[in-house]
């Protein structure tokens, strides 16, 4: 018996060692020419970015206002992450693949194509059959946008935000900054000042977008912080499902990612926003890795509208984001499903905010944290019910699974209820992976490694099943890869 235990322990240790030393699978660097503005940030850089992108005057004004506001803000420190001081002058704020600045837009750099092939992005003709329209962002400029025409027939606009600024300035001007104003927080101000590119989606009244919209962000050039801005507008009675997926090449120096995602959902419309985030998390000693400091917020502006966030977070050295929903209309629905997995020295402080302003609004929060190695994983959330928002309902569940005795799992929820007809529930548990379950699997000939994969996938299933099909497979694979043998 003792011998068996010792053997088992040794196997487990071996598995842990293997998992811990597993290198980042998507770490490769594409060699393309890029136009990079020299490092540093001042008003001239902001002007230069605007000039390079041929932007209208109002946008330059917006950027400058944001920049001036940003200069007055201190770097926020309240997150449960150990953030080193970031030298914002040591970052280059703009990088565009040169092929794109030239005239020949139809040709895609073969190197880039290879990158996408490795990632399995359906950019090429035959891959379009997979039914996804892809707006691929390499570094900061959209390189290729497929399926535009088909979408255009329905009146759906899906393009890069720089194109949208040129082609649909009224729409962009009306909605940009309406959910996340540049005064919102430090990183939102920074993004508003220097954002380079991103996606713009507009679904007209009564249109159900026939395919999942997808955008892959990929940080490519070394030391180039990426500052995308995504703006999604779903007009009355429309529906769209938007996917965002990320993999980044291996880099030794920390890279900054401060994006903004704004979503506006009008009457009876529905938006589903899914993310799989697998940026480089740093090596097993916590060196390198991406800082993912994102402001994501949507507003259910019209009555009966719905916004659903789903995220699977496995990458980044530091993740600090709270996809939030303002439930402004009556009878609106907000959802948030999240799986956050941290290992080695990763730190994740993530969660959501549900602000109930409309009557009969409902929200659901399901958050699953998994921590291994020396990582720190926190759920931070807020559910606020305004005094006038009667008959609201919220259910929150946040569970944490600890896979090592050196990792940390924390929950910091805040609940504020301002009337007597709303019901808010919060539940949280923290526990170790169940040894009985592993033993049960072992008994039936399933190795410890596979058992852990099974148990964790089962644990995260509530969230995984909310992902669109295309993502569910990748996400499940990601979890298994990241998890192999992390038990001990």
């Amino acid at each position: 018996m003792n011998k068996d235990n010792t053997n088992k322990k040794q196997t487990e240790e071996a598995i842990i060692h293997q998992a811990a030393s597993e290198e980042y699978r998507y770490g490769f660097v594409t060699d393309i020419d890029t136009t990079v503005i020299p490092k540093g940030l001042d008003e001239n850089v902001v002007r230069r970015i605007s000039e390079l992108k041929n932007e209208p005057e109002w946008l330059l004004e917006f950027r400058l206002k944001a920049f001036r506001h940003w200069k007055t803000l201190p770097l926020p420190k309240w997150g449960k992450v150990n953030m080193p001081d970031i030298d914002f002058q040591a970052i280059s704020y703009y990088a565009a693949p040169r092929t794109h600045t030239g005239e020949d837009k139809k040709e895609i750099d073969p190197e880039l194509k290879k990158t996408f092939d490795k990632l399995g992005i359906p950019l090429e003709e035959q891959k379009r059959l997979s039914g996804m329209a892809v707006d691929a962002v390499v570094d900061s400029v959209s390189v290729h946008t497929s399926y535009r025409e088909r979408l255009a027939e329905l009146g759906v606009i899906f393009c890069s935000i720089s194109e949208a600024i040129k082609d649909y300035p009224d729409l962009v001007r009306k909605y940009m900054g309406s959910v996340v104003p540049y005064t919102d927080n430090f990183f939102a101000a920074l993004n508003s000042a220097v954002f380079s590119d991103g996606s713009f989606v507009y679904i007209p009244k009564g249109v159900r977008c026939p395919m999942e919209l997808s955008s892959y962000f990929r940080i490519n050039a070394a030391q180039t912080g990426q500052f995308e801005r995504t703006l999604i507008v779903a007009d009355d009675d429309s529906y769209v499902s938007y996917l965002e997926g990320c993999t980044a090449p291996m880099r030794d120096e920390n890279q900054l990612h401060a994006a903004i995602v704004e979503i506006i959902v009008e009457e009876r419309a529905e938006v589903k926003y899914s993310t799989v985030q697998n940026w480089y998390p740093g090596d097993k000693d916590g060196k390198g890795g991406i800082y993912n400091l994102v402001t994501k917020r949507g507003i259910c502006r019209g009555d009966h509208s719905k916004l659903s966030w789903t995220q699977v977070e496995t990458g980044s050295a530091i993740t600090w984001k709270y996809p939030s929903t303002i439930l402004k209309g009556n009878n609106t629905v907000g959802e948030f499903y999240s799986v956050a997995l941290t290992r080695n020295y990763q730190m994740a402080d993530t969660g959501t905010k549900m602000i109930h302003l409309g009557k009969n609004s409902r929200s659901t929060i399901v958050s699953k944290g998994i921590s291994a190695g020396h990582s720190e994983n926190s759920y931070r959330g807020m559910v606020k019910v305004a005094p006038d928002a009667t008959n609201c309902r919220n259910y929150t569940q946040c569970d944490s699974l600890l896979l090592s005795d050196t990792s940390g799992a924390h929950t910091f929820p805040v609940i504020e209820v301002g009337n007597d007809s709303s019901i808010v529930e919060h539940e949280a548990t923290t526990s170790k992976i169940n040894e009985d379950q592993i033993f049960y699997c072992n008994q039936r000939g399933i190795s410890t490694e596979d058992a852990v994969g099974l148990i964790v996938n089962g644990y995260a299933r509530d969230v995984m099943k909310k992902l669109p099909m295309e993502f569910a497979v990748e996400a499940q694979r990601l979890l298994s890869v990241s998890l192999e043998g992390s038990v001990g």
Binding site: W78, P387, T390, S400, L402, L403, S404, D405, T406, S407, G408, A409, H410, T411, F412, P413, V414, I415, E416, V417, G418, N419, D420, S421, S422, I423, V424, E425, H426, E427, A428, T429, T430, S431, K432
Partner: protein, 446 residues
């Protein structure tokens, strides 16, 4: 520095000698440290971490009088007052404002148990006082620092090794003054190894003055010792209470802390329990019934610094009218503390459209082999249950009262003193019927 805090610091600065002169020597030793700790301190703003609903600046802003010269302000004689809770036989002591008084039943809790003022302890148990005073309370908490700065006397409950109290120790805090008054109350409860004690503290007020109770309680529980600590607040609408309870548990100890707010004005309670020894058990219970403009804020932190411990925490609120309730609780499990079983619950009923509830249950876990969970709900009474009772001929108000009583029952059931449990059940029933939650025989009624 905030002005509201500044006025008390200035009061100290200009009356330093007078305060020291009329104080117990042991308390003077820490005063300057507290003064330093308060240097440049900003009181937490309302809405900041752990102070979602409570505005300390506003609470401390009125110019409360502090009885530095230790004038006997109590008009009440101890002989007039009796607490006649049926079957509850206790050894009764009083603190009038901030002055300790004995009653006829004092000293019946056992020969070896010491319940005395700090000034008496300075002669009888000087070593206990010097060893434990200020040993668990942390001056990083501005209210505790202010208490340490101004406290001139206090109450010591000392239970020597292996001794058990024969009767519960009951301490009644009474506010009774002609002017706006701040009482700096300090308490030290020390249970040596294998000791056992039951302590019941009740808060009352007389008159309709504005009172501020600045209270710091330090609890030290030795190996395998067993402490039940109940605190019942039945004070008037003009009373503000800022209390901090700091407890330290040694190996194998068992502690029950129960904070009950039946009537009050503005209350902020901080509970911090450090479980330093393995195999310990901690129960932290609380409840509040709010009506009118009552404000009840409970903030708790259970620090699991040792393995193989169990803790159970449950706070329940019923809020009527414009009452405001707040709860912020945290369970912290330090690294290398496996086999912790911790639960934290907070259940609230918001029974009026203008009542408000803020809740923030938190877990911070650094060890994997633990079972920790928390649950928090804000809601109303079950409509179906109400309907069911109405179909059986029970009127709506009675049905509501029954359900609320049932809602409170698991906190009441946690009380280990049978007679107190009965009394509490009765008081809660009265309180939910809209009556004053005062014992009939209590002559502290206004």
């Amino acid at each position: 520095m905030n002005n509201s805090l500044k006025q008390y610091i200035e009061l100290y600065d200009s009356n330093r000698d007078a305060i020291n002169l009329r104080s117990v020597q042991h308390l003077n030793a820490l005063r300057e440290t507290a003064r330093k700790a308060l240097d440049g301190v900003l009181l937490p703003r309302k809405g900041s971490d752990d102070y979602e609903a409570t505005d300390l600046n506003a609470v401390l802003a009125p110019d409360y009088g502090v009885n530095i010269n230790r004038v006997d302000l109590s008009r009440e004689s101890t002989t007039q007052f009796r607490c006649e809770v049926p079957n509850l036989s206790t050894c009764l002591y009083y603190v009038f404002n901030d002055t300790f008084k004995l009653s006829a039943t004092a000293g019946q809790s056992g020969d070896k148990v010491g319940v005395m003022s700090f000034s008496e302890a300075a002669h009888r148990l000087p070593l206990v006082l010097s060893k434990y005073y200020g040993s668990v309370a942390q001056l990083s908490n501005a209210c505790t620092a202010l208490n340490t700065l101004l406290a001139q006397d206090g109450v010591l409950i000392y239970v020597p090794k292996g001794v058990a109290t024969t009767k519960p120790v009951q301490l009644i805090n009474v506010f009774d003054a002609n002017a706006r008054l701040m009482a700096v109350r300090r308490m030290l409860i020390v249970l040596e190894d294998d000791a056992q004690a039951q302590v019941l503290v009740c808060d009352h007020t007389k008159g309709d003055q504005q009172y501020l109770s600045l209270e710091t309680v330090e609890v030290i529980v030795g190996r395998n010792a067993h402490l039940d600590y109940y605190h019942m607040e039945e004070s008037g609408m003009g009373t503000t209470r800022l209390s901090q309870l700091w407890a330290r548990q040694d190996e194998g100890s068992n502690v029950l802390v129960d904070g009950i707010t039946l009537t009050n004005g503005y209350t902020r309670n901080d509970f911090r329990i450090d479980v330093d020894g393995a195999h310990s058990t901690t129960q932290l219970l609380g409840m509040a019934i709010g009506s009118g403009n009552q404000h009840v804020d409970n903030h708790t932190l259970i620090n699991h610094n040792a393995p193989q411990c169990q803790s159970n925490e449950m706070f329940k609120y019923v809020l009527n009218d414009q009452a405001i309730g707040a709860f912020a609780g945290k369970i912290l499990v330090k690294p290398n503390c496996p086999k912790i079983d911790a639960y934290q619950g907070n259940r609230n009923i918001v029974a009026s459209p203008e009542a408000k509830m803020y809740t923030k249950p938190q877990l911070e876990i650094y060890t994997d082999d633990v079972k920790c969970s928390h649950g928090s709900t804000v809601g109303q009474l079950d409509q179906e249950a109400l309907f069911y009772m109405q179909t059986r001929g029970i009127s709506l108000p009675v049905a509501q009262k029954l359900l609320m009583q049932a809602f409170m029952s698991d906190v009441i059931d946690g009380v280990r003193l049978a007679s107190l449990k009965d009394r509490l059940r009765h008081l809660v029933e009265m309180r939910l019927s809209g009556d004053d939650a005062m014992c009939k025989s209590c002559n502290l009624k206004q």
